[in-house]
Amino acid sequence: MEASTVAMIQNLAYLLASILFIKGLKGLTHPRKAVRGNLTGSLAMFIAVVATLWAGDIVEWPWIIAGLAIGSIAGVILALKVPMTGMPQMVGLFNGFGGAASFLVAGAELIVAIGYVATATEAAEAAGGVLPAANTGMSLQFLIAIAASGLIGSVTLFGSLVAAGKLKELCFTFGGKKYWFSDSILLPGRHVLNGTVFILCIVFSVMVVLNPTTAVWYFLLVIAAAVLGILISIPIGGADMPVVIALLNSYSGLAACATGFVINNNVLIIAGSLVGASGLILTSIMCKAMNRSLANVMFATLGPSADGPSADDVYEGKIKATSAEEIAMLFDGVQRVVIVPGYGMAVSQAQHAVRDLGNLLESRGAEVEYAIHPVAGRMPGHMNVLLAEADVSYDKLKEMDEINSTLDTVDVAIVVGANDVVNPVARTDPSSPIAGMPIIDVDKCRTVIVIKRSLSPGFAKIPNPLFALDNTLMFFNDAKKAFTEMIAAVKES
């Protein structure tokens, strides 16, 4: 076949892959079509890879076969071994790998291009002339795209590694004190530090573009971007994780996009922008769900508001503790029950026990639904995945806006391991750090049962007046144990 024909078929295959990527993502708009959508996406990837191998002028097979084999085996093992509770950090890790691949490809392309130019220059000089500027082989687009791939790819990798470590709740000891990785780690003078490293990244990017005869600037850029990725991720803690995970997801797409501009490849640009757009939308949804701007999440951290009421003022003498037996009596003849899960359910892996109680109450004629706040948990959709794992039908998982309008007809709301997302202060106190954040209005339900180990505050570090309301009962227990005890008590009654 002629080279032009091969190139045409290859590009048509890339077009087909792009269409299938879009179709695949479209499948994710409904749980019923989602499995097929995901398979469509993987078919698209397969087509793109085969077209590349078939038409790509490949002269060195061993590296490729080794890379594909190692990558596939590692991918399968990691994906099948990870329990559903480990999903957030696994997704974070895979995300980082995508970013790493982007800056590695850009680095390889730059080195290859430098080699070409050096050879061509030597040849031209041997022939007694100089190499015409137009033949240097490195356009401005190529160099800018190289710098962008290096910068975004490296930030993505190292930011994702930090995020995965936080999601895995790693901890370390320093100077005899134990630090949790998942806490927000605030370095002194961090804004100045971040600013300096960011400027350094820009300077190195410019040097990459201005000095295309050496790859040194590129590697300096990758290192500086790695430091930047780490610095911008470590201050983000706990409940803000969904935002940073979504943002890094977007970056991995943009890194692929930049690599597409390096090698002039449409399918990279299309697939990369789809992912970039997807991550940005998720980021904005997460920020809106906390009524905070992205800048606020990235640069500021929530502190306790100095003038807010203290925990003692809010709770003193108003907390009613309850037991499984008392709750079982409450469930007697109940019509409508709503369960509001939070990160505590994930920590205690209570989703199966939660489902069991839900099924039990349903078998006794109650209507049971699950109200899920967009930022409940540590990543977008975290609670939904856990409840789906426990075999809860997806039409019972209700979005915040949908459930809020009907909460006043709910007999019992069970809040399990959630705190800030049900704190009515968000509605009432404009000076509170969570002011204006949309919450699930469980305080409007007839009775609220809060399952929590203690009265300790949530991520926003403020007391929750919900716990002190007349219609609230506190069941101080571990989430999983609490549900097991409630199930036993309901069965006995």
């Binding site: 792009s18 994710l28 708009t29 749980p31 019923r32 989602a34 499995v35 959508g37 996406g41 990837m45 793109a48 890879v49 590349t52 060195e60 590296w63 490729i64 890379g67 990558g71 991918g75 994906a79 559903m84 999903m87 957030p88 997704v91 895979f94 995508g98 691949a101 590695l104 490809v105 390889a108 080195i111 290859v112 356009s139 991995s252 692929a256 996009c257 597409g260 090698i263 490849n265 399918v267 990279l268 697939a271 990369g272 922008s273 789809l274 992912v275 970039g276 757009a277 997807s278 991550g279 998720l282 949804i285 990543m379 977008p380 959709g381 939904n384 995945v385 075999d391 039908s393 039409d395």
Partner: protein
């Protein structure tokens, strides 16, 4: 370079719009599988990695390209597989 760049930019901008249109319709319940699935799609860099690894241009470039192929493949295979595992759990009963 001028015309090519404009063409690539056109594709880039249009694809972003398509992405926004589709993704805003994804329900919150599927946000985690969406992330891992789109994450796998960002492993499309594997195409660039394969092209780079297929060239015979010295050891440094070959090592970088090899690592890129391996990491991008983990991203692709692992990403689609975890999404499949999660999505297969979303069932409607009754």
């Amino acid at each position: 370079m001028g015309a090519d760049l404009v063409l690539l930019l056109t594709i880039f901008v249009l694809a972003i719009f398509v992405g926004f249109e589709i993704i805003t319709k994804v329900p919150p319940t599927l946000h985690t599988p969406l992330m891992s699935g789109s994450n796998a799609i960002s492993g499309i860099t594997v195409v660039g990695a394969l092209m780079a690894a297929g060239k015979d241009e010295g050891t440094t470039a070959a090592v970088l390209a090899f690592l890129a192929v391996a990491l991008a493949t983990v991203n692709v295979v692992g990403g689609f597989l975890v999404s499949h595992r999660m999505l297969a759990m979303f069932r409607k009963k009754g």
